[in-house]
Amino acid sequence: MSLRGFVRPDGTTGARNVVLVLPSVVCSSHVAEQIAGHEAVAIGHPHGCGQVGADAAHAAEVFAGVAAHPNVAGVLVVGLGCETVQGADLAAEIGARGQRVELLTVQGSGGSRTTVECGREVVTMLLAKAAAHRRSDVADAELVVGLDDPAAPFAHALRRLTAGIGGRLVEPEEGSGTLTHAELAARGAQVLVSWCPAGEAPRGFAVCPVVAVAADDDELAAMPDDFDLSGGASPDVVAGEVLDLVRSVFCGEQSASERRGAREFELRRLTRSM
């Protein structure tokens, strides 16, 4: 059985066809959200300035990785103008990775209101170009699944099953804890699998559907609308259910995160803000 996805010019395959409005800094996040409206996706985040050294480089790398992701059809970078992670540098890096990218800065566009006006025109253009893309048949081997917690009881079985169909499971290195959804996406995962400890609610992600697995049947029963399935059964059974759902979601079925409109973006910070 094959999958249906959006084949990008560089040969990678997307499970979604998102137009992304990416602020390079917290200061332009509100403008980015106003530009995106309901049709495009904006990542609101508190980063991009007051960061130094490896921490600033890591933020810029994750932003570029998420923006150049195959689930993304086009990007508008919205900078402020004086930030550490410069919008112009970020847009250049995204373009160098083969992504369609446009750039606006608030300081260079006459302030918030005019930036929103210009940005809406750009997004309308990007949405029109994205709408021309169609899904086509792609091989199972194109599937890259991201798992946020290698301690999930079904992790080993999911690794085995995904490899069995020729796909790839991206996950944190053993013993290194969890990876944020942004980092998993930056490593190419088109669909994310989230394993939630008891008492915690699952989160969505900006440009990828998240298949959320509850710790057990009780957790699922408490928040059935936010979880996709329970992790309470045997690891092999859970992994099989997860992979089946991941395949359906890849091809267009909405995950719970998408149904509730959860488009979070969490960046792992390496050092404190300056």
Partner: protein, 403 residues
Amino acid sequence: MSRTDASGTEAGSPAAVAPVGDDLTVTGYRRGDGRLGVRNHLLVLPARGSASLAAARIAEMVPGAVAVAHDGKGVAEPEEERISRTLLGFATNPNVGAVLVVGVSAGDAWLADALRSAGQRAAFVALAEHRGTLGAIAASTPLAEGLAKELAGEGRSAGELADVVLGLECGGSDALSGITANPGLGVASDLLLSCGGTSILAETPELIGAEEALARRAISPEVAARVRGVILGFESAIRGLGVDVRGAQPSPGNQAGGLTTIEEKALGSAKKGGRAPVTGVVDFAELVGTPGLYVMDTPGHDIEQMVGMVAGGAQVVAFTTGRGTPTGSPIAPCLKISTSTDLYERLAGDIDLDAGGVLTGAESLDELGARILATIAEVCRGRLTASERQGNREFALSRTRYA
């Protein structure tokens, strides 16, 4: 013996005298602890990051409600004390009339309980009690509407400048920051203090290089030692990360704006604090005490700093900018002051006041300071700032340790 600061002017009581003629009255909402709110917000506060979506949606549907989004991890935070101090301080700011805490399960109710113990009106809703995010939104919207309606029905009463805690901030500085807007704001701060009010000077990394000038203005040797300790401590903490602050700052935008070194930036930045004595030094998000000028230990990150000052009690923020930035606080009016008329005209919708007249001679620093203070009073009476009109409600948690 009289002491002098770096600019050679005498330290001690503010030289400026509150001008007569300007309307400097203040009105607001008197809280149980005696503090005055200049806004009366319903704050929808997620107890942890995974409840942020529900909080945002609830606030969107309820006129008068504001939400914050954050990436907090509840009680599992490595810096749990700093994070809860921030959330509690922010949600008990007198500008907040009531709080709806949104948690995941009943275990998150501690935040609402803590707010009530601090005298704040607080309600609680848990995702797990309503089948998840969408159910919690539907179930709590009528509750939020009821609270918002109650707050909207409350009238303002008389206050005074002595009630005001002013957060001093600069962001996107340029070579004019230390010449026009910052010293002008310093005059306004001195005037406010002479009326019995309080100011907070923060952004520790942007004070590196100005530590001696500030320490000499401390009211006691103990406060002077804390001023030096906080500023040099930040510098050494950053150096411990393998980064030379004095090389990494100023930011690209500061450099494009004509600033060459962090010391130059710092001496300009510290001018926001005027010439008044330094009354005390407080930790990030720590509530300021008796009236006076405080130094708060915050990052220079514009939003983390603003959150820290507002959590520390600031009801209003005055924010100077040379490059231009639209940011604001969800609960405190933020008054933007441009360093030049050129910027004011280019980013008109984002800026409230222009300090550029100082450069052309159209206005003296004393006149500018008086105008800033009169505008702060007006904002405290209800005038909306540019960031409030545009719905800028940025929020960020400040952490010092990362894995």
